[in-house]
Symmetry: C2
Amino acid sequence: ETEAELLTYGSEQAYVQKCMACHGEDGISGTLQYPNIRGQKAMYIEAQLKAYRAGERLNKLMQSQAVALDDRTIKAIALYFSTR
Amino acid sequence: ETEAELLTYGSEQAYVQKCMACHGEDGISGTLQYPNIRGQKAMYIEAQLKAYRAGERLNKLMQSQAVALDDRTIKAIALYFSTR
């Protein structure tokens, strides 16, 4: 799957909109406790979502979001925000 | 202590240089696994450093850095990179 295809898949995904609810439409969060993810390293975003999903990184809200994500969607979300 | 005083303290601190070794001089890391911290929310940076220090967030390298930091230095580091 090319990056372009993954990006299209990511942007069509409801998950990207879910991330935006807390992390901001452009990945700059409007809440001081929530990190900006705009331009963040894709590999880092991916690793954190997997860590939340696996319960290796503890945060109730993020874990509740991450458990629903498969690897492809995680990659698409990471690619999407890292390229904002 | 004013933000300006904390910023001066932070920028003089060797710790800021230590952070730069992995996170980049301007907070944009040169390593794909290491997150950018430039312009990141100060409150988030502070919370993560405290979580590493307390062992609530697990990462050997970051824990080894964070255990040496007192609250004031953590605040100064967070202020420094959030204002890059």
